[in-house]
């Protein structure tokens, strides 16, 4: 998919069709699910002298480049990916951020 990027050197007007999408998925533990790693981070921050830090929760950020140019379709696809793989909805919540990225053209 990257090999085609250099084929369109001439400047073009930006239209939605020229954009690809970048998705950023935030996966976080649900409330009520104990997060031992968050607790360890909290404790170490305390050891380093940072006062007043509480309820540290560790999550994941997953970035995806998508060929899809339609935001609604892209979001639906990423939601499906979250449900099927990226998040374990027994213990995790997820949020999806979508941003158009200009293609390399």
């Amino acid at each position: 998919m990257f090999s085609t990027c250099s084929e369109h050197k001439e400047p073009r007007q930006n239209r939605p069709g020229d954009m690809s999408m970048k998705a950023r998925v935030h996966v976080t533990l649900k409330n009520g699910v104990l997060d031992p790693q968050g607790k360890a981070i909290e404790k170490t921050l305390g050891n380093l002298g940072f006062q007043g830090v509480g309820d540290v929760r560790q999550g994941k950020v997953i970035e995806l480049e998508l060929e899809e140019t339609d935001a609604a379709k892209a979001e639906a696809a990423v939601k499906d990916m979250c449900e099927q793989l990226l998040a374990n909805t027994v213990i995790e919540n997820y949020t999806i951020e979508l941003a158009p990225t200009e293609s390399a053209a």
Binding site: G32, L85, L86, N88, V90
Partner: protein
Amino acid sequence: MKAAVVIFPGSNCDRDTLVALERITGRKPTQVWHTETELPDCDLVVLPGGFTYGDYLRAGAMAARSPVMAAVKKRAEDGAHVLGICNGFQMLTETGLLPGALMRNAGLKFLCKDVHLSVERNDTAFTRKYATTKPIRIPIAHHDGNYFADNETLARLEGEGRVAFRYVTKDGAPNDDANPNGSRSNIAGIYSDDLRVLGMMPHPERLIEPALGGSDGRPMFEGLLEALS
């Protein structure tokens, strides 16, 4: 009893499982590679322990989406017995064949030691050769064995008698001291609603004869042989 052991990239208890099954059933299990889309004719499918795909994303997450897992799921729905040990248990929760999730150990450390387990019921194919009155000693070796389920799921598991094993003291008390990893209700293993799918963090295949340090794992395979032959 015909058994199949599914092998994934990063499985590391498949050999022990194959040896335990062959020694006790007298029959060589079929080895099934994770890319297969069909399982051989068998009464028992075992998902062995290991660190498939380096535990990337979540332990068992990638393996649970392997081509072979659709066949395992179908076979379980058709009534075959499925045993998931350690990473295999993690795969079973990741596929939704068993409820809940296995999270990072509460103490964050990788744990490799013998633990004592209560056998909660001995009327299943997996536990019929055990006594419920005496704890068994089985090793654990995991980083992500902290069983989590929400309150509603936990109540359902308890109500339906689906807790298979609990971490207990040597004397059989399921208290915090006996809980190595923070698992809710000291849960070490659970059954599906038809009691044919068992997921457990401890490794019965590692203790099948005294030369290995104990034989408390042996009755599980003897029970399966008796029940499924």
